[in-house]
Structure formats: structure tokens, C-alpha cells
């Protein structure tokens, strides 16, 4: 049994390491900038060690080890009706133990990779390590916030860390804040996720308003175990509304349709940041939250159907957008959105354990793919696949890693992605969740369609980047498409493999992306590995391997790969000069379904600026300002008038005392 202090240490170590790294921001300690990176890596490595210990302790007899919640603040009088305590505490159970191990482990690998990646070109301002302190501070604190979110015992506590994750993702996406695109992307990520968070907040408010139902059961309305225990007893509607509010928050963080628009733009951050945020942490938070609150969702077929439909739609739409993207990181970003759709799909059909399984395997292969993208960029200094090609000639190791990641993502046996994706689809096909059967079948079809599209865009990425002939890297990019930062790098293409600090994390992740599927959740007992190890560990669900589903999905994947290779042979993989009507579809997808346009022009400009805001502005000027001015006027003049009493005369002061007695007597009479 792990001690409570050790579990707090999982959050505390990255927090402390971040504070230590921040010290190097002081001018006097500038020379220590390089050490700040190592401090951060050590902090998160310590957290990873503790996470493994925590995971180990939940493998034992007492699996769920919630620690005594401490009173944070009390609302009302706890003894009387309507009063309760808001607590802080740690909830360590198989789900959170798996998540902390994943988050801290991936974060550690990404930070090691960053040691190489965040080194500036020599001769830059402030030396090669000038970016280190700020970068590693944000990264450490981001990791700490994410770990705190996962371990939270109380929904309000979870919400605090949820918002902290949002804050640090804002800082990380806008890390290169002097670039307008990065600043705009950070702002967009913050605002779009905030729309979802508003739903989350409404759910919290709704819980508060219905606290009587919890208190009647002797439960606390915000403590997660209590909510889950009381969920079956809640009156109709309460579970649905709370679940839908939580779903809104999860959709924002996990970039589900229609709140998906922020994620592709968020690629403006440093590539390791994209890798961390978009593979294992921030976007996974939404999936985690729904999985965490799953018993509540299970009480509401409406909420479950909503989760499934949101997931299925997102999986297909994002995959379609990934097909037409030319920026390697954007392809991966759309792919992330699409894969998160799969996870929501799994949640919606009632298989939350499988959603977590897919979250794990996806974390490995997607993190790997992002790191390979960073590695490629390190060589050719551009992310645009149209100017790559043939890179396998001098980057054989990066190429090999990409192939493993790609096949895993497509879902080719026996790589990790195959097993988890197959279980998601099998769960949808069997339709034995609490949601409607029709919806399960519908999202099964959507999921299958996405398999085909995934195979195509992944191999498009692989072929355009590593095969064919080299198309010049950054030197070939037209000068008017380069930002000033990129223009500096023109002419610096070096045809060489990346340094070992970058290759090592890739190697670890490649191994995981290969074997994690079998190792974690083998479909049958396999050597020392138990059958369905992970899903059993998380909570008992196991499903037999469905050969029909697996065969169909593999066939579709191979068809997608075949189509990509055929297109490559004919040299049309760039998807330019398409015949009508395909060119229209292409434009529509490349414009990201014009969702940004819709949001900005129609909703923000027309509806809000000209409609609501205009009315609000008028009311604010006429009504609110008027009232405020009045209060201010009263305040100023009242203050002067009252200050007149302050004459400095003792006699007047003495009279005041007796006046007071008289006034009190009069008030007493009045009350009688």
C-alpha cells in the first residue's frame, strides 16, 4: 500500500521541478539555464517512479485506495440541512493509476526529446539554451496540472486542475508568442475549450442546486466516488443534465466536433508540446473525465447516445480533413481528433475500459509520430510534405519509427493500434451498452469508414515524406510562404539523422507502439500475460476477439493503403488538379468545412457583434453606467459629507457616543 504522501509527490515533484526551472529565469542565474532542463526531467522522472509504485499498489488486494479527503472549505453549516464540505483528496484506483503512469511516462520521454529539440541554433540570442527555463517550467507545471486532474477526489478540485491544464496549454501553444500565428492559436485554444468548460461549470452548478438528493443519501454532491455511488438513485433528468454538461467540457478539451477547430491550429506550439498535449495529456483529459464519471453516463441513454454520435461523427470528419492536409503536423492533428472520436465512440457504446485501452495505445503511437515529425523538421526545417520526399535515404531510423507508428495507427496486426481499434469496433457492433442499438450500429459504420480513410492519409503522409525523390525541404518553399522565423533557417537543411537524445525516446515509443496491444490487453492468455489484462484490471469487462470485425477492418485498411500506393505510383498523392466534383470536396475539406468561417463571420460578427453585443453595449452605457455613476456620485459626495463630522473636537465625539445610545434605544422600541 503506497503512502498518501507519495501520491501527493506525483503532483508535487513536477511542480517543484518547474519552480526550480523557473529560477533560471532570474538574470543572475541565467548561466544555469541548461540545468533547468535536467531539473525538469528529473522531477517528472521522479513522478513517473512514484506513479509506477502507485500502479503497483493498485494491482494488489486493495485496488481502490481513495485517501481520506481533507476539508477544504465548508458551505453552510455541515451539521444542518443543505450544508456540506468541499474536500480535497486523492482518488487512486486502477483508472487513475494507469493514467498517471501514462501521463508521467510520456511526459518524461517528451522532455528528454525536448532537451535536444529546444536547443537553439548556435549564435542565437541568449545562447543555445535561452528557451530552456521558460519551456521546462511550463512543461513541468502542465504535467503537474494534468496529474492533479487525474488524481482529483472532488469534482471542484478536478475543475481547478482542469482549468490549470487549459492555462498551461495556452502558454505552451503560444510559446513563441512573438509569432502572430502562435499567439492567435493559443488564444483560440483557450477560448474554444472555454466554451466546453462553461458546460462543465453548468454541470457543477446543477449538482449544487440538486445537492439535496445527494445529502439525503448521506453523500457529498461533489466527491466523485459519492456521485458514482449515488448515480443509480438520482431522479430522472439530473443524471442526464450533469452528464451532458460534463460531456460539453470533455468535448472542448478533447477537440470533438463541433469544438474541434482549435486543435489543428494548436500545432503552432513547439513540436514536443504538440506531442505531449495532443497525444497523452490534454486531449486525453476529456476521455478520462467521461470514463471517470461513467456510472453517471450509464444512467442516461440520452447522454450515452450523444457521446457515441459525437465520437463517430468526429472520427469520420477529422479523418476526411486529414486526407487533404499538406502540413505533416496538421495531418497528425486531424488524426488525433479522429482517434479521439474513436475513444468517445467506445465510451458511448458502453465500453469505457476499451476507450482507455485505445487511449493508451494511441498515446504511444501518436506521440511517436509527433516526435518523428519533429525529427523530420529538425532536418528539413519545414513541415510541408510537398517539399519533402525521399528522406528515408538519410534518416533510416526515423523512417523505421514512422513506419511502426503508421502501421499501428492504421491498425495492422499485431501492432498495438490493431488490438485497441478492433475492440472499439467490436464493442460498437455488439451494441450491448446502455445506449440505443441503432446508434451503436450507426457509429460502427462510421468507425469502419474511418478505418479506410485513416489508412489512406497515413500512407499518404508516409509516402510523401520518406519516399520518392527529395523536393528540397525549406529551400524549395516559395519565399512568400515563409514566416520571418522560418526564413532564417533557409539554406540550413542538413541531410542527417537526428541526435541520440531525440532518437532514444522515439525508440522507446516505437517499442511500445509495437507491443503494447498484446502486452496490455492480449485477447487470449499469451505466455505470462493474462487475457484482457487491462480491461479486467480497470473493471472487469472482457469481450471475445471478433474475427469478422477484425477481418473487415483489416481488409478496409489494406484497401486504403493500396489506394495510397496506387496514387503514389501515378504521382497524384498531392491531390492537386482533381476533377470535379472531387475538387469541390477537396476545397470544402481543406477549408475545414468552413467551420472557422461559420463561427467567426456568422456567429461572432453577425449574431454577437451586431446583435447581442450591440444591445448589451447600449444597456451598459445607458443603464449600467448610469447606475454606477450614481453610486460613484453618492460615494464621493457622501464621503465628503460624512467626513465633515470628523471635526477633531472631542466634545462632538462625545456627543456621538450618547447619540448612539439613543439610536439603539429607539431601534429596540421599533423592533418590539
Amino acid at each position: 500500500m503506497i503512502s498518501e504522501a507519495a501520491v501527493w509527490g506525483i503532483i508535487g515533484l513536477p511542480l517543484a521541478a518547474g519552480a526550480l526551472a523557473a529560477l533560471a529565469l532570474l538574470p543572475a542565474l541565467r548561466p544555469l539555464a541548461r540545468a533547468s532542463g535536467y531539473a525538469a526531467v528529473l522531477g517528472v522522472a521522479g513522478a513517473f517512479g512514484l506513479s509506477l509504485a502507485a500502479l503497483d499498489s493498485t494491482l494488489g488486494a486493495d485496488r481502490a485506495a481513495g485517501f481520506a479527503a481533507r476539508s477544504w472549505l465548508t458551505v453552510g453549516d455541515p451539521a444542518s440541512a443543505g450544508g456540506f464540505e468541499v474536500t480535497v483528496g486523492l482518488l487512486l484506483d486502477p483508472l487513475s493509476a494507469v493514467m498517471v503512469a501514462l501521463v508521467s511516462g510520456v511526459s518524461m520521454l517528451v522532455m528528454v526529446f525536448s532537451l535536444g529539440y529546444m536547443r537553439k541554433e548556435p549564435g542565437g540570442e541568449g545562447g543555445a539554451w535561452a528557451d530552456y527555463p521558460r519551456y521546462f517550467t511550463y512543461m513541468s507545471w502542465f504535467t503537474a496540472a494534468m496529474l492533479g486532474l487525474v488524481l482529483a477526489y472532488n469534482l471542484i478540485q478536478l475543475f481547478v486542475f482542469w482549468e490549470l491544464v487549459g492555462l498551461f496549454s495556452y502558454l505552451l501553444i503560444g510559446f513563441w508568442y512573438h509569432r502572430p500565428a502562435a499567439a492567435a492559436a493559443a488564444k483560440k485554444a483557450f477560448i474554444v475549450t472555454r466554451i466546453g468548460d462553461f458546460g462543465f461549470m453548468l454541470a457543477l452548478l446543477y449538482l449544487y442546486l440538486h445537492r439535496a438528493e445527494f445529502l439525503a443519501q448521506g453523500a457529498n454532491p461533489f466527491e466523485i466516488p459519492d456521485i458514482l455511488a449515488v448515480a443509480p438513485l438520482l431522479s430522472a433528468g439530473v443524471a442526464t443534465w450533469v452528464a451532458l454538461g460534463i460531456l460539453a467540457g470533455a468535448m472542448g478539451k478533447s477537440a470533438q466536433f463541433p469544438l474541434n477547430t482549435w486543435l489543428p491550429d494548436a500545432m503552432e506550439g513547439p513540436t514536443p508540446v504538440s506531442s505531449l498535449i495532443h497525444a497523452a495529456t490534454m486531449v486525453a483529459a476529456g476521455v478520462f473525465l467521461v470514463a471517470r464519471m461513467f456510472p453517471l453516463f450509464e444512467e442516461s441513454a440520452v447522454a450515452l447516445n450523444a457521446v457515441a454520435i459525437v465520437g463517430g461523427t468526429t472520427a469520420v470528419l477529422a479523418a476526411a480533413m486529414a486526407i487533404v492536409a499538406n502540413d505533416i503536423k496538421r495531418v497528425l492533428a486531424f488524426s488525433t481528433v479522429s482517434q479521439l472520436g474513436y475513444m468517445f465512440l467506445a465510451l458511448g457504446v458502453g465500453a469505457w475500459q476499451i476507450a482507455i485501452f485505445h487511449l493508451l495505445t494511441h498515446a504511444f503511437f501518436k506521440c511517436l509520430l509527433f516526435l518523428t515529425a519533429g525529427s523530420v523538421h529538425h532536418s528539413v526545417h519545414t513541415f510541408d510534405m510537398r517539399y519533402m520526399g525521399g528522406l528515408r535515404a538519410w534518416m533510416p531510423l526515423t523512417y523505421a519509427a514512422t513506419v511502426i507508428g503508421a502501421l499501428s495507427l492504421v491498425g495492422i496486426a499485431p501492432l498495438a493500434g490493431f488490438w485497441s481499434k478492433d475492440e472499439v469496433l467490436a464493442a460498437a457492433w455488439s451494441a450491448d451498452g446502455a445506449g440505443s442499438v441503432l446508434v451503436s450500429r450507426l457509429v460502427f459504420v462510421l468507425g469502419m469508414a474511418a478505418v479506410f480513410m485513416t489508412a489512406f492519409y497515413v500512407f499518404r503522409l508516409l509516402l510523401m515524406t520518406f519516399h520518392g525523390r527529395f523536393r528540397g525541404g525549406i529551400d524549395a518553399v516559395p519565399a512568400d510562404e515563409l514566416t520571418p522565423d522560418e526564413a532564417i533557417l533557409a539554406g540550413h537543411v542538413h541531410r542527417a539523422e537526428s541526435p541520440w537524445v531525440m532518437l532514444l525516446p522515439m525508440a522507446v515509443l516505437a517499442l511500445l507502439a509495437g507491443v503494447a496491444g498484446v502486452a496490455l490487453n492480449a485477447v487470449g492468455a499469451f505466455g505470462p500475460l493474462p487475457a484482457h489484462g487491462l480491461t479486467h484490471f480497470l473493471g472487469g469487462l472482457s469481450r471475445d476477439f471478433d474475427q469478422g470485425v477484425a477481418g473487415l477492418s483489416t481488409a478496409l485498411a489494406l484497401a486504403g493503403i493500396g489506394l495510397a500506393i496506387a496514387a503514389h505510383r501515378r504521382g497524384v498523392l498531392g491531390l492537386t488538379d482533381l476533377p470535379r466534383p472531387w475538387s469541390v470536396v477537396h476545397r470544402f475539406l481543406a477549408g475545414r468545412l468552413y467551420m472557422d468561417h461559420l463561427y467567426e463571420t456568422l456567429i461572432v460578427r453577425r449574431l454577437l457583434y451586431r446583435g447581442l453585443f450591440f444591445a448589451a453595449d447600449w444597456a451598459d452605457r445607458r443603464l449600467v453606467d448610469g447606475t454606477v455613476d450614481l453610486v460613484g456620485w453618492v460615494g464621493r459626495n457622501g464621503g465628503r459629507a460624512v467626513a465633515q463630522l470628523q471635526t477633531g473636537q472631542v466634545q462632538v465625539y462625545g456627543v456621538g457616543v450618547f447619540m448612539g445610545v439613543v439610536v439603539m434605544l429607539m431601534l429596540f422600541m421599533f423592533q418590539r
Binding site: 472549505l73 462625545g654 450618547f658 448612539g660
Partner: protein, 486 residues
């Protein structure tokens, strides 16, 4: 009647400490005033810390009383004793530099602070009116002298004179009130007065009670008994202003709250309207007058009047939640106000300036002091993550739950208005351009340490009030009206 004197050991030791401080000052060589000052302060601080530790260690685990109910030794008294000793330590620490420059006899200064703390401790323990009166006078006399201790300063002398004169008037009123109550009921012990006070509405009781409240209102600077406060605050040596603002008010609240909770067991709402009107008038007048102040000490004086009004909102509720909120606010307010005064004292000791406009450029002269004062101002205004937010939240909810929605609404309105003058100080420090390039102010380790501790306390109460709330809850459970609550 056998009296267990061991229960009174902390008070006896504290009295002994007061004399010890005076003696140490006398025996130490006169020619090195700087070292003598520091040594005397060190004795006072170490002694008060030791007494606090002893009081906590020897506290009985159930309510004890001595002299047949004259003094209570319970969790309620213990909480306040710890608070008052902490306040005493903080005030001594923040005044070392100030005393070195301004005051000639450090022994008197620190010794009287120790005696004032003793008086405050007894007020929190008192279970009978005359005992309470004597304790209150012990505190008051120490303060009268301390206010006038900067000899040769006309403002200080004027403040002291006014304070004594008005203090005498209010004491007379208070004593007259006590005698009227005694005359009707034949007792001055809180618990024995209860039944009579709740059913007896003869004019003598009413007038007596009103006069009692007036005397207490004077110590609290409730409107309209507040007129002395700004003059005294401005004229007194600044550390003593802090003592008046924090110690004397908290002690009086301790007394008032115990009195109200002991004489009644809930049915005591005839006076609630009078108290509510006093609270409303106090916070409104305090807030409005603070808007037009230019001197930082006068600003803090009116701000503390407004704060007392806010605390009264919790007293008016007359519920356990209200009492808890009052105690919580007093602790948070002690940290916050001491933090603010620690900065004001240090700035005055270093630059001899006390106008708000003089704070321009403090953020470059001393980033730590600017940060602490900003935190204190935010906390007083009631902004989140600082103590003031959470404690005001409890105060106002307690009043609203007790049916005083209008009072809670007025309190919130006043809170919002108060933002203006608190933020003005922050604006001066960070935004206004100073006329002359500010010189860097170097802080002594003791001042810097005190500032950090007070800042940490201000934030800790705001971020994680759980443990404090539990202690406060245990304290109010010791009072008769709220006994047995969770």
C-alpha cells in the same frame, strides 16, 4: 472554593514576562541603545512565543472555569489567546526598526504591548461583566499610554489625550450599563443573566443593555462611536496603530461574541435589528469616508471601521455559522491587516512618509513590500485566493441564511466600493511614476521574515481554510448557545 491555579499559568507567566521586559531594559547598559532595543524585543518575542506554546500544550481537553465562572479556560479562549500572542509577536517584530528611531525607552514600549496582550487574553476568557471590564481597562490603559509614547510629537499627544478622554466617557457609560443590569438582575455572571435578559424588558434592562453595547461599540469603533478612531490611528506610533486596529478589536469581538452566546440560548433576537443597523451604518460610513482619504494611516483607519462593520454582519446572524465566520474573519483579518501595517511601519521607519502618494515607485524600491501590501489590499477588498475573500464569503452567507439578506447585499455593495480605495494604493505602487527615482529599500531579516509569514498566512487562509475552520468550529462549540453543533 478551591481554585486550580495551574489553569491560569499562561496568564501569570505573561504578566511576569511584562515585568521581565521592563527589568531587562533597565539592567542592560544604556550606551548602546540599538543593541538594547533588539535584546528587549527578543526577550518579548521569545517570551510570548513560549507562553503561546505552553498555553497550547497545557490546554485542558474540556471546558474549565475558575473562580465560579469568572474566567473560562476553553477552546474558544485558547484560539483567541494564540491569535493575540501571535499578533503581539508580529507587532514587536515589525516595530524593532521603528522603535530604534522614534522611541527612547524600548522597555516601556514592548512591556506595555505584553500587558495589552494579557488584557486581551483575559477578555477572551472572561465570563462575567466586571472581570471583562477590568480586562478591557487593562488593555485600554496600555493602549492610552502607547498611543502617546512618541514624546514631543504633537499629533501623538493629541491623539492620546482624545483617546483617554473619550475612553473615560465610554467606560463611564459601560459601567453605568453594568450597574443598571446588576441592579435589576442581581448578577453579572453571563450564564446567570441569560433568563432575565431574555424575558425582562423593564426600562432599566433596556437602557443598561444599550449602554453596555455603547461601551463595547466604542472599543470596536462602531458608527457612531467611531469618531476617535481616525485621529488616534493617525497620531499614534504606527505599530501601535496596528495593535489598536487588530488586537483591541479582535479582543472586543471575542468578549461580545461570548457574552451574546452565553446569556442566550438562541432566543435573543430583540437586539438583532439594533446590531444590524449599527453594522450597516459602520460599514457604509467607513467605506464612504475611506474613499476621500490621502493619508495611508487614515485610510487604514476607515478601512478597519468598514471591516468591523463586516464582522458585525456575522455577529448579527447569531447563529453558529455566523460565529464561525466572525472568528475566521478575525484570524484572516489579523494576518492581512498586520501585513499591511508591517509595510506601512517599515516604509515610515525608512522614509518617514505616510501619504498614499508617497507610495509611488515602491514596486521598484522594494518589490517584496509592494507585493505584500498588494496582497493585503486585495485581501481587504475580498478578492479570491486571499483570506478576505473566503472569510467575507462566510460572513455574508451566514447573515443571508439568518434572514438578513438586505444586510448581506449592503455588505457586498460596500465591498465592491471599497475596491476603489484599496486598488488606489496598488496603482500608486505599480503604475504611478514617482517624482524622484526611488532608492532601493533594504529590509532587515526580521522584517522580511515577518512580511513573508504574514503574506503566507493571508494566502493560506484564503486557499486552504479547512484546518482553521475546524479549529474555529471547535472553539465556538465551547460557547453555550452553539454547544453540540458539528
Amino acid at each position: 472554593m478551591r481554585v486550580d491555579f495551574s489553569l491560569l499559568l499562561p496568564e501569570m507567566l505573561l504578566a511576569g514576562l511584562g515585568f521581565l521586559v521592563l527589568i531587562v531594559d533597565l539592567v542592560l547598559p544604556q550606551e548602546r541603545p540599538e543593541r538594547r532595543n533588539k535584546a528587549v524585543a527578543a526577550v518579548a518575542v521569545a517570551g510570548m512565543a513560549a507562553v503561546a506554546a505552553m498555553a497550547l500544550a497545557t490546554a485542558p481537553d474540556r471546558t474549565e472555569s475558575v473562580y465560579g465562572g469568572l474566567l473560562f479556560i476553553d477552546a474558544y479562549a485558547l484560539l483567541f489567546k494564540t491569535l493575540f500572542l501571535g499578533v503581539g509577536i508580529a507587532v514587536v517584530l515589525m516595530s524593532v526598526e521603528y522603535v530604534g528611531r522614534v522611541i527612547r525607552h524600548p522597555g516601556e514600549f514592548y512591556g506595555l504591548i505584553v500587558f495589552a496582550v494579557l488584557g486581551a487574553n483575559l477578555m477572551a476568557s472572561a465570563g462575567e461583566l466586571l472581570t471583562a471590564y477590568i480586562a478591557l481597562e487593562l488593555l485600554s490603559f496600555c493602549l492610552f499610554v502607547l498611543v502617546g509614547l512618541t514624546r514631543g510629537d504633537r499629533r501623538s499627544a493629541e491623539a492620546s489625550t482624545k483617546y483617554i478622554l473619550l475612553g473615560a466617557i465610554s467606560s463611564a457609560v459601560l459601567l453605568y450599563g453594568i450597574s443598571l443590569l446588576y441592579g435589576t438582575m442581581g448578577t453579572t455572571v453571563f450564564r446567570e443573566m441569560g433568563p432575565g435578559l431574555a424575558i425582562n424588558f423593564s426600562p432599566t434592562v433596556i437602557v443598561g443593555f444599550a449602554m453596555l453595547l455603547a461601551g463595547i461599540g466604542f472599543k470596536l469603533a462602531l458608527v457612531p462611536f467611531h469618531l476617535w478612531a481616525p485621529d488616534v490611528y493617525e497620531g499614534a506610533p504606527t505599530p501601535i496603530t496596528a495593535l489598536v486596529a487588530v488586537l483591541s478589536k479582535a479582543a472586543t469581538f471575542a468578549l461580545l461574541l461570548r457574552f451574546l452566546a452565553e446569556v442566550s440560548t438562541g432566543r435573543f433576537d430583540q437586539w438583532q435589528l439594533a446590531l444590524a443597523v449599527l453594522a450597516a451604518a459602520t460599514m457604509t460610513v467607513g467605506t464612504l469616508t475611506a474613499l476621500v482619504q490621502r493619508n495611508i494611516k487614515r485610510l487604514l483607519a476607515y478601512s478597519s471601521i468598514a471591516q468591523v462593520g463586516f464582522v458585525m454582519v456575522g455577529v448579527v446572524a447569531m447563529t453558529e455559522a455566523g460565529a464561525n465566520a466572525v472568528l475566521l474573519h478575525l484570524v484572516g483579518y489579523a494576518f492581512t491587516n498586520l501585513a499591511a501595517f508591517a509595510v506601512v511601519v517599515t516604509v515610515e521607519a525608512k522614509t518617514r512618509k505616510e501619504e498614499i502618494a508617497d507610495y509611488a515607485g515602491l514596486s521598484t524600491a522594494s518589490p517584496l513590500m509592494a507585493m505584500v501590501l498588494t496582497a493585503a489590499m486585495f485581501s481587504l477588498a475580498g478578492l479570491p485566493i486571499f483570506a478576505g475573500f473566503i472569510t467575507k464569503f462566510y460572513l455574508f452567507t451566514a447573515a443571508a441564511d439568518a434572514g438578513y439578506l438586505w444586510l448581506a447585499a449592503l455588505a457586498i455593495t460596500n465591498s465592491v466600493i471599497s475596491l476603489y480605495y484599496y486598488l488606489r494604493v496598488v496603482r500608486e505602487m505599480y503604475i504611478s511614476e514617482p517624482e524622484v527615482e526611488p532608492e532601493r529599500i533594504r529590509l532587515s531579516p526580521s522584517s522580511a521574515g515577518a512580511l513573508w509569514v504574514l503574506l503566507a498566512g493571508t494566502i493560506a487562509v484564503g486557499v486552504y481554510p479547512g484546518p482553521l475552520a475546524a479549529a474555529v468550529d471547535a472553539a465556538t462549540d465551547a460557547l453555550r448557545a452553539y454547544a453540540g453543533g458539528a
